[in-house]
Structure formats: structure tokens, C-alpha cells
Subunit: 418 residues, 2 copies
Amino acid sequence: MKAAFLAIGDEIVGGLTTDTNSGFIAGELKALGVEAVCGFSVRDEEDEIIRAFGQALRQAELVISTGGLGPTADDLTTACVAKLAGREMVLHEPSLQFMIERFRGRGMEMPPNNRKQALFPEGAKVIPNPNGTAPGFICPITVDGQTRHVACFPGVPRETRHMVAATLVPWVAARQPGRRFLSRTFSTVGLAESRIDELLEGAIGPDEARVAFRASFPRMYVRLTVDGTPDDDLEGRMDGLEARVRERLGDAVYAAGDEGLEETVGRMLRERGLTLALAESCTGGRIGDRITDVPGSSAYFLLGTATYSNTAKTSVLGVSEQTLAAHGAVSTQTAEEMAAGARRLAGADVGLSTTGVAGPGGGTPDKPVGTVCIGLAWEGGTWARRFDLGDRGRDWIKATTAQMALDSLRRWLLSALV
Amino acid sequence: MKAAFLAIGDEIVGGLTTDTNSGFIAGELKALGVEAVCGFSVRDEEDEIIRAFGQALRQAELVISTGGLGPTADDLTTACVAKLAGREMVLHEPSLQFMIERFRGRGMEMPPNNRKQALFPEGAKVIPNPNGTAPGFICPITVDGQTRHVACFPGVPRETRHMVAATLVPWVAARQPGRRFLSRTFSTVGLAESRIDELLEGAIGPDEARVAFRASFPRMYVRLTVDGTPDDDLEGRMDGLEARVRERLGDAVYAAGDEGLEETVGRMLRERGLTLALAESCTGGRIGDRITDVPGSSAYFLLGTATYSNTAKTSVLGVSEQTLAAHGAVSTQTAEEMAAGARRLAGADVGLSTTGVAGPGGGTPDKPVGTVCIGLAWEGGTWARRFDLGDRGRDWIKATTAQMALDSLRRWLLSALV
């Protein structure tokens, strides 16, 4: 099945809002074997919307639009689809009741404008929106004697993501009754897409699974999708493929599923009953920020410190002035003492530290911009390592250092006898 | 002038990459009075690219594409434009030499593939790309007897943004020789777009300036654009408008220009010769991360702490157990003691603190999720305030708290007799 995408709204075309819906839905449908062929963005103008739907329907059996389902006069999507399909607009009573209740629950009366959001082309399948007032719908349209479909969703990503997973994905799967699809995502760290590609070469045949990458710096996800008949043992096949992926990528795979290292590390700390303290220098607080993005992190995160000055390294963390003088602030020795100091200060089980030259200034021939040291300290031991990341900009260095520090902690947790 | 946009690449249509270029360029050209009318995203397929360019050229005088200018076989943009324009591809010697030098500078020989990136449709204006190997170009194309233009840029946002500012913006301005445009951006904090709209009502007539908003949560920018003939005193008119904007918005405007609060605050600290220490609780390190995003922040940022546990609040920052028992960790009293403690620990001039309930757990009837306290401490004084932000999610609460804390510091710096 081929799919085309329409993002509708003046704010999209004018650049005030970036369309992230089309790409997200394309990714979800890819796992079902749907081929995304093109996308359009159009303003809130009736003739422009109708023209774009027409062009899209000539290129794809399924056209998916986002936006233009609101209650105001410039929300035109539903009316345009009805016109294009040659169908009347009819009231969908359950949608109207849901909206009235939603407003009532907030102690408000539904404004009369919103009634419009319960009107749909006759015969369309309504897609409930539990998170907002704009339901979506799927409407058949005949093009050159063939039945094609238009699926319309609101522009708010959170609402649309939920509706796509709950309704569009099963709808597409059901239209391919002979096929069943199964996807599994692996979160990886430390390998570029090209390197993963190399490592997987020959491990997974092109007929065995589709392999897709999704990068969200500094994160990298690999997704395998297998398909077969409803009677095939897709889970068994996937388990076999997963074993091969894990063999090739080793512990660069940190989670089956789509999660951040801060979640993985948080879960591992919690499972082991361990607490954490941070001593950040070049990352400035980014690791603490990520650790505390996880709900419930107060169970294991005791203390973060960002000791940017040398004075703070000695007075707060107890790094010795001798170490700073002999090896410098950016050294494995300082990193170890920082981690040990944070651990001691907080009374935590593990201390994790970063110190480095984030640039643009501060580089020297020995320690150019991008030189970074990461340290760990625990009861009875310390570890530290120097990395030469190169100068790819301050933010890149901060983000990469934070990711590598979290990964160092993960590897320690994997191997530690605790 | 009307403009249409093409984002070219399998990764865009398939959802692996989000197109942010089209929106950015649309925003830049809007200031010149250019009307963005539609956008297309297409795969790396010759016929699909040519069809989209054709559709775009029927709707706009200027069609701007991004992507497909790389050295590999699936980079087809230039060849498609040449074909559509009925022009030969010719070698642009300066571009070739630039590329050869660029590779040589890195101790490498230019791969033969890259030569392709120095080929352009005959008669096209080449746009240098100082940050990459793919130059862009502007090529005239005749459509129904009228001369229209296609402008092609690489897909890498950093490269394209620079090229647009350096070349496309002046090119468009020069094609409207009777008009001159002047824009000025104001960075604001603490006001929603709708509130700014209200406050500015009646201050700026629709004929005096275009007013545009750009939100990049938690940041909000207002841009004014005026235009006139080359002889008009646009600067003088803009100065008058700026005075009116500042009168209406007051100190919600924190910078003329497009900068983050961490830059403004950093500049103010540096100008006053003051140093900063942080005591973050619910923000977990986000303020320190933002402060250290600014190059040179080590001149004024001494220490960050993220005292997530009550024990760390007492043992590291010296918050009294009495205060915690009497008022709780989320209280103005604790916030003041945290700020004072961080200041004392680091020997800094100013201490800034946050403590709050970021959720989803931890809320109580008295202090529901979204209750946040911000504190400041300086030589001879402290200040703290409680905010009830409401529960709009953990990340929203962290981001909003960090922004409000930086703004509290800014307002203190504005008023303090230091």
C-alpha cells in the first residue's frame, strides 16, 4: 500500500510550526509495509486543500492529513474531504455528546462553534480523540473507478499519535488480512548508523526482516520488522533475529524498546537498590537534568554537582590541589577524585563524573577542544577514561559526553558484583 | 512574491528526518514580504522530483528546494532542475577548486564522486557553501512564457541557514528594488502569544509594521518588520515602534535580538563582575546545563548543585532540618536557605534555587503537582516566591521552572544596586 501525507495549516506553510506528524505516521506505517511516497503542506484555503488532496490521491491509495479539524472558520479539512468525496456532512451524535461532557467536566458549556467538530462526511469511520475535542475520520473516495481512502487527524502531535496507534495502525493491518507484521526496536549507544549497518551485514537477509534506523541525537534506534501469514510464528522468528542482532552489536544494545539511557540506568539502579551522585564539569548539569527527567528518580538520585571552577572541585568535592596542579582539571585523576568526592558528599553508592574542554576556548595542544574524561567511584574502587571526541561544537560535546557518561555507568552496573 | 518549498529525500518522506529547512526559510522570507504558499516533500526519484517542481512552479514565482545536492547517485536535484529548465550541466571551476582545497586541508584527496557537486545548470547563479561540499544555486526557468526561479540548497540545516542569509535574502530584496525591509526581533519571557497580542493591540497599526511571533518553548520571540522605499528612514520608524513595544511589554522584553535568557543573564553577570551558584531541586540540573551552554560561562558560573534528597539539602547546602520539618522541601523558606547555602558553599555573589513538585507523583492537596518555589540569595538579602504552575507534565514543569528562575535572576540583576 502507498501512502501520501498532507499537513494543513497556515502556521505550517509559514514556518511557525514544524510538521512532525507526517514523518511520525510514515514511520509507524512503514512497519506494516506501507510505502510513504510524498508529502504536501498547504494553507487553510479551500481550493488549495482540495487540489493537494487530489494530487495526493493520484499518487497513493491512502492519503493521511493532519490539521484543520478545529472549531474555527479556517478549519476546512472535513468540508474539503466531503466535497471531494461527493458526500453530505452528517452529525455524529456520540462525538457531540463526548465534547459536551468534556466541557461540562471542566465546568464550562460547549461553545456553539465546537458542534462543527462532530460533523463528518456521510459513511466515514469516526476516530475518537480521548485527548481533545477534534475526532478524526477515515473516508473512502473513488478515484478513476478505484476506492481510495483519506484519513484525517488533528494537528496536535500528542492527540494524533494516540489516535494513529489506536485506530489507523489496526485499520491498515486489517486491510492486509493475509499479512501480519511484528516490529521490535532496539536502543543502541556508541555506534553510528553506518557502523551498525556494517556490523549487521550478512546477519539479516533482505527477505528476513526490514531494518530501519532512527537517530535522535545522541540516541540511535534500530527497528526490525518481520511479516508473514497470520499462522506464521513471527515471535519465534523475531526472537531468532534478536539473538543475531545482540550477538553482532553486543552490549551496544542497551534496551529492547525505545527508551533513553537515563531510563535504563534508572531502572538498573533501582533494581540493585543503589543510589547515585554526580560530579559534572563540562556537562554543566545535563546528566542531572536527564536523570531527573525520569519520574521517580528521587528514589536513587541523591545529589548532582556542577563544579565548574577549580575552587569548587577542591572545596566542594575534595579534589586535591596536588592532583589539579600535576594533571590538570581535565584528567582521569581529577575525574576519579571528582566521582569519589560526589559519592562521599552525598553518601551515595556510586559517583559519576565528567570533566572536559567543551570549547570554543580552553583547548591546548595536549588537551584540544573535545578532550573529555569520565570517572566512576564506588565502595572499594574507581575507574576513569579519557576520550578525544574532536571539536564538533560545544553542544555536541556536552551531549556526547553526557551520553557516554551514562553509558559508562550502565556498563559498570552490568558488570559490577553488587 | 509567492514562494513554494520542496524538501527532497527518502529520509524526509519516510519520516527518519524532519524538514525544518522549509519553515525556517519561509520565516526569513516573510520579513521581505514573500508569501509562502505550499510545500512538497518528495523521494529521491527523478520523475517524482520533476513532477513536484512542476507543480510548485505553477503556484509560485520562486521555488526553494533543500536536499539532494550530495555526491551520491541518489542525489538528483541539480540534474532534475537542469532537465526542467532545458539547460546543460556545466562545470563551475571555483566550486571544484574550493572542494579540492577543503579535502586537502583535512589531509585527504577529493573522491571523484564529489566532482558532481561542482556541476550546475548553465546560467545558474552559484551559491557558495563555506560549511560543506554542496554549493547551492538559483536557476531561472520559463513557465508559460514567464521567467520564474528555482533556488536549491543542501539538506543540512546549518549549511543552508548560512547560505540563505548570505545569498537568498539579498537576492530576493534586490528583486524588489523599490522596496527596502528592516526587521527587529525581541526576546520575551513570561507572556503567552495571545497575551502579547492583547498588550500590543492598538500600539502598532497594520500599515506600520508586520508583527510575527515565533515560539520555541519556553522562548517567545516577537519580530517587527517595516518596509518602505530606499529613501525612507526605516531605522527611525523602527526605533519609534520599538519604544512603543517596550512601553507595552515592559521588562517582559529581555533582549533586542534572538537570544536565550542564559545568554542575557550571563552577559549581565559578566558586566557586573558577579559570580553565580545554583541549588536546583526539581529542575535537576537543567539551569546549570543552560548556563553552561554559553561559551565562556566559566567566568561567572562557579557551582551548580542538584540536591534532590532532603539529606543533601541539609548536609550539602545547610538547609536546617527545622525548616524542612516546619515548611517542607517545597517552600519559600527552603528555597531561600538553598540559595543561601549554594552561595556560601561556592563563595559566589548570588545564589539561585528551585524546589518543586514536578510530578507525576508527590503532589498533595496543599502542594499539588506544579507547585514550585524559586529563591535568590545575595550579600545581605534573600528573596523567594511560590508559583502554582499546574500539572502540564514533568518536562513542561522543569522547563518552565528553569525559565522562571533565570528570569528571577535577571530581574534581580536589573534592580540590584550592585
